[in-house]
């Protein structure tokens, strides 16, 4: 029977089909976005020179006008220029300029002995701060801060090249760029509030990034900065440049840019797998290995079935997934409804199951990795920062959940019907 109003019906069906598909969770989308934005961008292409658009006599007039204008500019500039040597754009370290922001930097790259300074202000700098510049000072635009309005933000950044003595490392935790405002701590530089009568919001953030020690001071016009103000600060923090691009950096960036685009720092797959029979019982085994530095053991989680057929496995070395399984909708990564905790030794639990189980393996790599087909498995090799494994029945009942954090710990939780296998410890 032919349907009525066919076009409308087709559109409706496509829309219904779309709605029947669950999109990835917000945290997965965020992880994907971060993986993408952690990649370096290629340099912009050189633009082709255009033909000069003016006739010769107008060109002559323009040149004359420019000479006069430059002469006037230099003369006036000499009268009003600040004595400091602040540079308006980023060199090796500093803030990228953006509309609505004033950015200054000390103009020299940081060394282990000499700090480089940079200031970004969402309000125009007070003339006195502009005139003084920031070289040789603490970098604090004091007059600007004294008058900072409620919605104003000033960020002062101090950079020191990490030298041969790394004892300071513990004060500057390694962080990835862009740095996050939310990692900042409340501070008062040398216990002195800048503006005691109308207190500022003063925060500090320390980091090691691109082989530099970075010390950031945030000054908000209010002691309790609004979310909008925090995000304004974050937007500027996203434009923080740390360290010059050396030739070796450029080569590394080029290598990374030329790498396979399907490589990703996050591998997250859920599989629907048939289960095997062992000793007449249809079961799966879930194994957990804690990282034990003294024995050179690394964290790992594994789901097997039948005669030790691996369904899904993740360790500090990579990921392995059985190609005998099918893709499935993601299952939750949670220990809810299960019992267990930190694994002190290698352990295994056997769980009686039905014909199919759902297995989810999630691994966060330190560098982009790619799944490759190797002898009946999809494998990705590389250093894994953290891995998770979840197993559920096809109907969604949780059977096991585990998580390891590289060099730290492995936790495993299992359902009540799973039995510890004493042969593995």
């Amino acid at each position: 029977m032919k349907r009525e109003t066919p076009n409308r019906h087709v559109e409706d069906l496509v829309v219904r089909l779309e709605r029947a598909i669950s999109p990835p969770a917000e945290q997965d989308l965020r992880a994907m976005a971060r993986t993408a934005s952690s990649r370096p961008r290629p340099l912009p292409r050189a633009t082709r020179a255009r033909r000069w658009p003016l006739e010769p006599r107008w060109t002559g007039f323009l040149v004359l006008a420019l000479v006069v204008a430059i002469g006037l500019g230099v003369g006036l500039g000499a009268l009003i220029a600040p004595s400091g040597t602040a540079a308006p754009g980023p060199l090796g370290t500093g803030f990228l300029p953006d509309s609505g922001w004033t950015v200054l930097q000390s103009g020299a790259d940081a060394t282990p002995e000499r700090q480089a300074l940079a200031v970004a202000s969402s309000v125009p700098l007070h003339p006195e701060d502009s005139a003084r510049g920031i070289r040789g000072s603490s970098g604090l635009p004091y007059e600007t801060l004294l008058r900072l309005p409620q919605r104003g933000v000033v960020i002062v950044a101090l950079f020191t090249l990490r030298g041969p003595y790394t004892w300071q490392d513990e004060y500057y935790p390694r962080r990835e760029l862009p740095l996050r405002v939310r990692d900042a701590t409340r501070s008062q530089f040398y216990s002195v509030p800048v503006r005691p009568d109308r207190p500022l919001g003063q925060y500090q953030l320390r980091a090691t990034a691109n082989d530099h020690y970075v010390e950031l001071y945030f000054y908000f016009g209010t002691p309790t900065p609004s979310p909008a103000l925090l995000t304004t600060a974050q937007e500027q923090l996203d434009r923080l440049i740390v360290g010059s691009l050396t030739a070796s950096d450029a080569r590394a960036a080029r290598r990374q840019a030329g790498a396979d685009p399907s490589a990703s720092k996050l591998i997250d797959r859920t599989l629907l797998c048939k289960t095997g029979v062992s000793g007449g019982i249809r079961e799966i085994e879930v194994q957990a290995d804690p990282p034990i530095r003294a024995l050179d053991r690394r964290g790992a989680l594994k789901a097997l079935t039948g005669a030790y057929d691996t369904l899904g496995w993740t360790s500090e070395y990579g990921v392995q997934l059985s190609t005998q399984c099918k893709s499935a909708q993601p299952i939750p990564l949670t220990s809810s409804g299960l019992t267990g905790g930190t694994s002190r030794y290698a352990e295994q639990f056997d769980c009686t199951v039905g014909r199919n189980v759902l297995v989810r393996v999630r691994a966060v790599f330190r560098a982009p990795a790619m799944l490759k087909r190797v002898r009946g498995f999809l494998e990705a090799e590389g250093a894994v920062r953290e891995g998770e494994l979840a197993v559920r029945t096809q109907s969604g009942k949780p059977l096991a959940y585990g998580k390891f954090v590289a060099s730290k710990s492995t936790r495993l939780y299992v359902a009540g019907n799973c039995v510890r296998d004493p042969n593995r410890w």
Partner: protein
């Protein structure tokens, strides 16, 4: 001071979180997620402009806004959960790297759809496993929808592409023409023929 504090000789720094001296957390996503992320309040061209400048936060917001629809398109197109996720990740990588070359922020969505369409085509060409029979785990329960899904899969690719771009991603005919690098007239005729073919398959 807690273990997480950044210590200083003069001990002037205190960890800032929701429980410290009544000072609010600096984490803009901590407890007021819905209202506090200004990128979400910005319109798309502004988010695109910021992402072009290198703001990963703005790019993240763009992905949160547009990612679900893109994923659904890729899932219907590729009929495989894992392939759709991989293709989405590849689309986002290409988008991040290509963003500086996008001239008009308002054309971000059709531009992104174009990347996704090409990545989906690459994934469909490159995959080594059977796309249809082994991957039913993400299939909808509704029989009618299953029919539609199978009928869409049975359509020639250029018909299917037009239908999905028009009705699933909501692009205009002119935008579809731009994505597929063809003329608007061709899109119109393909669209009509695709609907007719789908209707015939669904009879």
């Amino acid at each position: 001071m807690s273990q997480n504090d950044v210590s200083r000789d003069d001990g002037t720094f205190a960890r800032l979180d929701a429980t410290t001296e009544g000072v609010p957390s600096l984490d803009p996503f901590a407890d007021r997620r819905a209202s506090e992320s200004p990128p979400a309040e910005l319109d798309e061209p502004e988010l695109v402009r910021r992402a072009q400048l290198g703001s990963s936060a703005s790019f993240e917001q763009l992905v949160l806004n547009r990612g679900p629809a893109l994923y659904r398109y890729l899932a219907v197109r590729l009929r495989d959960e894992g392939d759709a996720r991989d293709a989405l990740q590849e689309t986002l990588l290409a988008a991040w790297q290509g963003l500086p070359s996008l001239r008009t922020g308002s054309k971000f969505w059709p531009w992104l759809c174009g990347i996704a369409a090409h990545k989906a085509a690459d994934a469909a060409r490159g995959r080594s496993h059977a796309p249809l029979d082994e991957v039913d785990a993400s299939a909808p329960d509704d029989d009618e929808l299953l029919e539609v899904r199978d009928a869409l899969a049975a359509l020639p690719q250029h018909f299917r592409e037009v239908l999905l771009l028009r009705h699933l991603l909501g692009l205009s005919e002119a935008e579809v023409a731009e994505v597929l690098d063809t003329r608007v007239g061709t899109v119109k005729s393909r669209s009509a023929r695709a609907r007719k073919a789908l209707e015939d398959l669904l009879r």
